[in-house]
């Protein structure tokens, strides 16, 4: 059963990428929706399996590491797989209605979408340094393709900027991989980590980790390497923006976090951990600040991503040379932050798309009066905002709570300030949108009404983000499951 599930998980997106490549947009939509169903069921099945039986290593092609490529199917990974299934299906569903099927180039949306999905799954499950690189490239290129899809000069500019940043990041990562392989002779993260626990740290190995994390930080748009993100996320079609912000940036962060947690303790050092945390904090403040100053709705949301990503990097200082329990708290907090941000940001972008569709303009001040007309989408936007502001009972709040606890208990109280200020700043930009929409303007009667289902989707995501806080214990308990080692890492 598990084997079939794994095969289905890996096969479905790739196969559907091919299938949809052969159809036009409208038929591709139907095919996709079928695929989404399959993929969601498979993801759910795998999640349930892991939640019941615990995780395992899955050697592809029957070869175990270090010779072959192993997938690490643990609680965290399957949770992210499930998250991806949820968010991506929402985006796929939304895109099917949202995107104009008459434009011929839109038929390429579906294959790119499916490739992106497969790349994400590859990254969540990957335990092989080089395989992760390929997965990252799969994601990057399909994301760039989606951003540029049929675009005009500004979209092309954004996607080029995105592509170059992604490529530079990948190269840095690959250089790190090269050094790692040169040093340890294996590409399996688990293998390296287990070797390091038994042997003294060899000289010169810190650079590899630094390079990899730096490259990944660039791909994750950590301040000050974030300039590529807002144009790309802001200009793409809303479902694409949602995918990018919700999942794509998380993929590179996920790898960085995995590397740090496995190798950070022996290979890292305090200064760099604090430095990364500092950059994350700067991202929180700076990103929020810029989000407050944007004139375009989606730019606001995009800069909000920059800020929210900043929180993620607090993982580095909060897990370095701290007690086991603090580290666990920080990991749980970051995990929740990733999940809730994914759900909330996807909801936000989709809702923003609806709003833009409705008012026919992407400017923030064009929203005046829309609260009367499109309360549902605005409400979704708001609910997602609640999670971004990390107000209870959202997942963002649970995350913030855990991070606060971790900061306080490890004595690194300065992150507390970042967390609190960040929450307030995010409130500032979320409510800026509300402020604009609540304004009653006399000539605000020219609205286009998007389809009802378009409005429902962001609402579902937002509610998930909101409800995550209430069940975070259950979600986190799946990740804390004992890991059953089948392979030989």
């Amino acid at each position: 059963m598990t084997l079939w599930l794994m095969a289905g998980l890996l096969f479905t997106p790739l196969a559907w990428a091919v299938l949809t490549l052969l159809t036009d947009f409208a038929r591709g939509r139907l095919v996709t929706w079928g695929g989404i169903l399959v993929q969601v069921l498979v993801s759910l099945g795998l999640w349930l399996t892991v939640a019941r039986d615990g995780g395992f290593y899955y050697g592809l092609g029957g070869w175990d590491a270090p010779l072959g490529i192993e997938l690490r199917v643990d609680g965290l990974a399957v949770t992210f797989v499930l998250l991806t299934a949820v968010v991506a299906s929402a985006c796929g569903w939304h895109a099917g209605i949202y995107i104009d099927p008459d434009k011929p180039w839109h038929r390429y949306f579906w294959p790119l979408f499916w490739f992106l999905w497969s790349g994400l799954n590859a990254v969540w499950l990957g335990d092989d340094l080089f395989n992760l690189y390929v997965g990252l490239e799969l994601i990057s290129l399909s994301a760039v393709g989606l951003v540029a899809l049929g675009g005009k000069a500004s979209a092309l500019r954004a996607s080029l900027r995105y592509l170059l940043a992604a490529l530079l990041g990948s190269l840095a990562y690959l250089l790190g991989v090269a050094l790692m392989y040169g040093q340890f002779g294996t590409l399996s993260i688990a293998g390296i980590a287990s070797w390091l626990t038994e042997h003294p740290v060899p000289a010169g190995s810190g650079l590899a980790l630094a390079l990899m994390i730096a490259g990944l930080a660039l791909k994750t748009a950590l301040f000050p390497l974030h300039q590529w993100l807002p144009p790309a996320h802001g200009i793409a079609k809303s479902p694409v923006s949602a995918l990018l912000s919700a999942l794509v940036v998380k993929a590179s962060f996920y790898i960085a976090a995995r590397l740090w947690l496995e190798l950070g303790e022996p290979l890292g050092n305090l200064v760099s951990a604090q430095l990364v945390g500092l950059l994350g904090s700067a991202a929180v403040v700076w990103g929020s600040w810029l989000a407050c100053r944007q004139l375009q709705l989606k730019q606001v949301v995009a800069y909000s991503s920059v800020a929210q990503i900043g929180y993620l990097f607090l993982l580095f200082p909060l897990t370095y040379s701290v007690s086991e329990s603090v580290s666990l708290q920080a990991q749980q907090g970051i995990t929740l932050q990733v999940i809730s941000h994914a759900l909330a940001k996807a909801a936000m972008f989709l809702a923003a798309g609806n709003l833009i569709l409705s008012v026919g303009s992407s400017r923030v001040d064009a929203l005046a009066g829309v609260s009367r007309f499109l309360p549902f989408s605005l409400f979704s936007f708001g609910l997602a905002g609640v999670s971004l502001m990390s107000l209870p009972p959202s997942g963002g709040f649970a995350a913030k709570w855990l991070l606060l606890q971790a900061s306080l208990e490890s004595g690194q109280w300065w992150w507390v300030l970042v967390l609190l200020v960040g929450g307030l700043l995010s409130a500032a930009y979320v409510f800026r949108i509300f402020r604009a929409s609540f304004l009653e303007s006399p000539e605000s009667d020219q609205f286009y009404h998007p389809a009802r289902s378009l409005e429902v989707i962001p609402m579902i995501l937002a509610l998930l983000a909101l409800g995550l806080g209430l069940v975070s214990e259950q979600v986190l308990s799946v990740m804390a499951l004992p890991f059953e080692v089948e392979g030989s890492p």
Partner: protein, 106 residues
């Protein structure tokens, strides 16, 4: 100093040059070339470093092969984008943009 190690060190140098190009040059095609140079450097390191002591090692060779394909794919995509960008905007670089232009009506 063996030949593979030399390759690796040259690779390091290429990386440096490529990085400089990526950061400094503004013409998109040159940037792309710089990327390829840097990529070559990385591949050299990748191939050179493990074979310095372990001798023949097919794994990095295979990896580099894969890497090259990926790099080619990326390069090709980038060129398509650059050409189209040039056609639409008449520009060869990403610089010189203003905030009003960014996302502004074309």
């Amino acid at each position: 100093m063996t030949a593979p190690l030399l390759y690796a060190l040259v690779g390091a140098m290429l990386c440096g040059i490529g990085l400089f190009g990526l950061l400094r040059l503004s013409h998109l095609l040159r940037k792309l070339l710089a990327f390829n140079i840097m990529g070559s450097g990385v591949f050299l390191v990748m191939v050179g470093l493990p074979q310095h002591q372990g001798g023949q090692d097919p794994v990095p060779q295979a990896l580099v092969l894969t890497g090259i394909v990926v790099a080619i794919a990326a390069t090709a995509l980038a060129i398509v984008l650059i050409r189209r960008y040039y056609h639409l905007s008449g520009m060869t670089s990403l610089e010189g943009e203003t905030t009003s232009r960014e996302g502004g009506p074309e």
